[in-house]
Amino acid sequence: MTVSITDEYLLKVEGLKKYFPTSSSMFGKTKNFLKAVDGVDFYVKKGETLGIVGESGCGKSTTGNTIIRLLEPTEGNIIFEGKDITKLSEREMQKIRKDIQMVFQDPFSSLNPRMRVFDIIAEPLRTHKVAKGKELENQIYELMETVGLDRSFANRFPHEFSGGQRQRIGIARALALKPKLIICDEPVSALDVSIQAQILNLLLDLQKKFNLTYIFIAHGIPAVKYISDRIAVMYMGEVVELASKEELFTHTMHPYTSGLISAVPVPDPTLRDRKNRVILEDDLPDQTNMPIGCRFYSRCPFATDRCKDEKPEFREVKENHFVACHYPLH
């Protein structure tokens, strides 16, 4: 499933920033910001899957939500099919929304408990007036079968389903408008391993079938690694490393990435005493008051004074391997 270089970018994100004001003083002079996303660059090519990993709170969801303009970006460009959508009005955006869809993390809260499955899947079709009546019905049944749900389920409510089934409903809803890009925000984190595998395989299957492009967000590296072609590692609102999956795992450059990878428990007891494990301390800086230098400085086993004072640039160290570190590991 490799993508040839000549394929055009479907999505390009440049210098994306999203700041949340945390406290506004009485007279609006000093404002504090939580820099949830602080200058992120990446691109996604047609038909590929870009994985985004990172610890909780590093800004993965915010990035996803900003791309689909659920949140207004503070700064930066989001170029979708060659068009910068950050400047679009809500009406113009409406057309784009058809092409970008989302699958959410929590299979319990992402479906309206008071709506029937049929109506949940129908909502995007109705909103964009794609289909009506019999045709709508057919499309919905078709979608349900595509994601592996019996059409007899159409009249049920979400609470009558298991987590895995609910996630299928969510996927069916995302597929309804035949989008070009699907942003999956931790779609398997809440599921049991066996069900996780079902969903991951389903996503892969659908990608093949409909030539979909995914942005796959997760904090579990194993799942991201399984499904992605390229992976971006985020840390405190920034992408610190971005490379193809093979490259990232064989030539890990950023100490954070390597810490992250080595922290993942390996389901093989023979490897339990493996060496060179890096255990990262959880000494995180205050997100409203970031250090000037490298944000990973406080936890990095290799940090120097330079890291403290000078912010490392996010650069392409090797072809298609980007990293933000003064002293890449490889």
């Binding site: 929304r97 869809q101 929590d106 992402s110 309206n112 909502e123 995007p124 964009h128």
Partner: protein
């Protein structure tokens, strides 16, 4: 991999086994599971039936006085007659018939004022909670102001100006009690709008109005139903209190509160005047509260989910 994918998309059927029973049967089952819920349901049903068919059920004209039969005790006491099963009041009117007719006022005032309050409260609450910001700020300050004025005072002053007819009572109680709903609804909306299904809908490009109507509203309805049942109970008692202060429903209309108030002066000597309407209020309120409690249990998705 191809083969694997096939199996993974196999239609899942273990939930389709055994067709789900119809909604009605399911509700009956849920109802019968709770003793208090069943009691509450039948009390409320009974009260509604009595209210609707008051004219047919009542043995006498509730306003017809009989100076020959003043203050007759109930049938089982010395001096009671079977003509007036629950006795008569100080104008010789049949207490049973008055209670039967009083059901109407109590229910009308209780139910409609709550509906009115609910409509205003829900609209304000949803708008305030959903949009937030300056709109929320303005609306909530209004709510705060209303909350700081005891509603009974408000009602008293208004009733001092307009004759306390059923209609006026409904309007004034409705217009003072909406703030409670607005508060509750707003805080519910605040949490619901953060739920992912709202985000999902927004990400599709659904209009705010549609989101409020289709996603937010249905999810606050159940908590609204719960507080509103309780509110119906409170309103019935409120009407009684207003009667006590001389501002309840006025004769010839009959209300339980009015009966209770007029009868209070006879508590020491002719206890049945105030006691029977008192029992009617208590039983009805009890029924409504039981029903409300049951509704809270069955409408709470957490509880339902647990089963």
């Amino acid at each position: 991999m191809e083969a694997k994918l096939k199996t993974s998309t196999l239609v899942e059927t273990n939930l389709t086994k055994g067709k789900k029973p119809g909604a009605l049967i399911r509700w009956v089952k849920l109802l019968l599971q709770s003793k208090t819920g069943t009691v509450g349901f039948f009390v409320v049903l009974g009260v509604i039936v009595v209210a609707i068919f008051a004219d047919i059920i009542a043995p006498h004209d509730p306003t017809k006085n009989n100076l020959e039969a003043m203050l007759q005790p109930p049938v089982w006491l010395d001096g009671g007659t079977s003509t007036y099963i629950l006795g008569t009041d100080n104008l010789g009117r049949d207490i049973l018939s008055r209670i039967i007719h009083g059901t109407r006022v109590s229910l009308l005032v209780g139910v409609f004022s709550v509906i009115l309050a609910g409509i205003i409260g829900i609209v304000v609450g949803i708008i305030s909670g959903y949009y937030g910001g300056i709109i929320d700020n303005i609306l909530m300050r209004i709510v705060d102001s209303f909350l700081a004025i005891p509603s009974i005072l408000f009602i008293l002053v208004v009733l001092a100006v307009f004759d306390p007819s059923i209609f006026v009572l409904i309007i004034v109680i409705g217009f003072t009690n909406w703030v409670t709903y607005a508060r509750v609804v707003r805080s519910e909306v605040l949490s619901i709008k953060e739920r992912e299904f709202v985000k999902a809908s927004r990400s599709i490009g659904t209009k705010n109005r549609t989101i409020m109507a289709k996603h937010i509203f249905p999810n606050i309805v159940s908590s609204f139903i719960v507080i509103s049942t309780l509110s119906v109970a409170t309103t019935i008692i409120l009407e009684a209190s207003l009667s006590f202060l001389g501002l309840g429903i006025q004769p010839p209309d009959v209300s339980w509160g009015g009966m209770l108030t007029d009868g209070r002066n006879y508590l020491a000597t002719n206890w049945w005047l105030a006691t029977f309407p008192g029992i009617a209020i208590t039983v009805t309120v009890l029924g409504i509260i039981f029903l409300g409690d049951w509704l809270r249990d069955v409408l709470d998705p957490r509880i339902k989910g647990r089963k």
